[in-house]
């Protein structure tokens, strides 16, 4: 199971796949604090996510797309509206929903291998030997071979994010929540990670929810793009992307899609 082999034969989830996440009229208001008036972060957001569909939340910075993701993760709670996973309201975080952040959030006192093993340890379902075996598997899977015993402080940003992705994948969550995971990386590193993630996503039995403000990133990864307006967030358009992969080089259709998405975001930015 090496990254890259299945990139060309992605199984399309399609409209027939069951709905796994349903958001109806979500609203998030932060109450007034320290003399600041209340902030409406999310106004009226409705969408659904189908099983195994790589769903990208695309929108300008600070628009509330990350807040939406955090609510699915169970880390924040909506003020109004309903948010269901498999038809059930979200009660809090859970091992079915793994999360990856922009700034990696590794544990600096643990080696790469021990960081990847962290989630498995917490789940209390595996023996020591099983944890070690799985962790080693994901070290290789994310191209971290040779760094298993290194501490995070010695790694580059790209490598750190590979560790964070491996740590989350290792627990085989049903949902992989990714909060602008490549925003802190340089262009070349980001390019490689996008390609590797596309390959991983295609062979993983996981539904990806991916937040970004980068149109190219959205196009290269997504089965569906939900375009968010600036704050307070609404969803401007839900775009299904069925164009063939890999989408590393832009053809006419991708270029057109790119222009369309940029105009949507741009329109929003002007109000």
């Amino acid at each position: 199971m090496s990254a890259g082999t299945m990139e060309h034969e992605v199984q399309r989830p399609g409209a027939a796949a069951p709905k796994v996440v349903e958001a109806r009229h979500l609203r998030k208001v932060y109450p007034e604090a320290h003399g600041q008036p209340p902030v409406v972060a999310i106004d009226d957001v409705s969408f659904e996510v189908r099983r195994r569909e790589f769903t990208v939340f695309l929108g300008p910075s600070g628009c509330g797309k990350s807040t939406t993701l955090h609510m699915i993760g169970g880390f924040e709670r909506q003020s109004e509206g309903s948010l269901l996973v498999h038809g059930q309201p979200i009660r809090g975080p859970g091992p079915d929903r793994g999360i990856v952040f922009q700034d990696f959030v590794l544990f600096p006192w643990r080696t790469v291998l021990a960081n990847i093993a962290f989630g498995l340890e917490m789940m209390k379902r595996y023996t020591r030997a099983e944890i070690a075996e799985r962790a080693h598997h994901y070290v290789e899977h994310l191209g971290l071979g040779g760094f298993a015993n290194a501490y995070p402080s010695t790694l580059s940003g790209g490598m750190k994010q590979r560790v964070a992705i491996a740590r989350t994948l290792a627990t085989q969550p049903e949902f992989m929540l990714m909060d602008e995971p490549f925003a802190a990386l340089d262009a070349q590193t980001r390019d490689r990670l996008i390609a590797d993630l596309a390959a991983i996503a295609s062979e993983q039995n996981t539904t990806f929810l991916f937040v970004t403000h980068d149109v190219r990133e959205a196009i290269r990864l997504a089965d569906r793009v939900l375009v968010f307006s600036p704050r307070p967030a609404r969803i401007v358009e839900s775009i299904e992307v069925t164009l063939p992969r890999p989408r590393d080089a832009y053809g006419a259709e991708l270029l057109e899609l790119d222009r369309h998405m940029r105009s949507l975001i741009g329109k929003g930015a002007e109000g």
């Binding site: 091992p95 929903r97 952040f101 006192w109 917490m122 995070p152």
Partner: protein
């Protein structure tokens, strides 16, 4: 032939050597001067023994007769260890609790604020009044003076743990106990070594001060005070030297070693 380059060469080398060993040289010069002044009879004060006499006193106290200074040191280190251990456990527990629960931190704040300027020495008469003149007073004095920096270090360390780190953990369904053991304690610890070090300094001073005032059993402080009463000047100075050397060893050997196996290894030390 350029003498302008050749000439400074030996000077540079001399300067390098002097710089490298400057601390040792200054110490030796100071001790040597002291030895000369007293040995040559320039200073006729029985309260100031020659360094050689102090070293002889140290040797006698540790290795000869009843090994007074040796056993005194053991007892002092025992009180220090017990008091410091309790201070670390108690201070870190309170600090982590306060770091996790802001309400608890504000509730504790007045006590901490009043405690910070309190010298360890003033707690001794009060404690003696309650507990008599026993080991408990000395150990409690150590605890009372060492817990504050450790508490403050643990508080800051716990506060520095990011919300995301806690989220990552909860997303894996970590139990409260795993959360504490695997993220909060190590997360706080990476910021705590300086405060553990300051706490040790406070504990070390407190144990000696309490020994001198309480005068119970054996201890370096008690030895110094007793030696003064018998005008055994060499032993008195030997005790002082012992305190300085042990304090130095704790600060310069124990904590750097702790850093090497933790934050230096993790690449977190600057």
């Amino acid at each position: 032939m350029t003498p302008t380059i050749a000439a400074p060469q030996w000077r540079d080398r001399l300067r390098d050597t002097l710089t490298r060993y400057s601390s040792l040289l200054v110490t030796l010069a100071f001790v040597g001067l002291w030895q000369l002044v007293v040995g040559a009879g320039l200073l006729h004060n029985p309260a100031v023994p020659a360094p050689s006499a102090v070293l002889a006193g140290l040797y006698r106290g540790l290795l000869e007769g009843q090994h007074v200074l040796f056993f005194a040191t053991l007892d002092t280190l025992g009180r220090l260890t017990l008091g410091y251990a309790v201070a670390v456990l108690g201070g870190a527990t309170l600090g982590i609790l306060a770091g996790r629960h802001p309400d608890f931190a504000s509730a504790l704040n007045p006590i901490v604020a009043l405690w910070i300027p309190l010298p360890a020495i003033v707690t001794i008469p009060v404690l003696s009044l309650w507990l008599g003149s026993g080991e408990a007073v000395t150990v409690l004095t150590v605890i009372f003076s060492a817990w504050i920096p450790i508490y403050l270090g643990a508080l800051q360390g716990t506060r520095s743990i990011s919300v995301q780190q806690l989220w990552v953990m909860r997303a894996y369904g970590a139990s409260r106990w795993s959360e504490l053991r695997k993220v909060i304690v190590p997360g706080a610890f990476v910021h705590m070594i300086p405060s553990l070090r300051v706490g040790m300094g406070y504990a070390w001073r407190a144990v000696i001060a309490a020994e001198i005032i309480v005068e119970h059993g054996r201890g370096i402080g008690i030895t110094i005070f007793a030696a003064r009463q018998f005008f055994d000047v060499a032993t008195m100075y030997a005790g002082v030297l012992m305190i300085a050397l042990l304090g130095l060893a704790l600060d310069h050997l124990v904590f750097p070693a702790l850093e090497r196996v933790t934050i230096k290894r993790w690449g977190l030390a600057t």
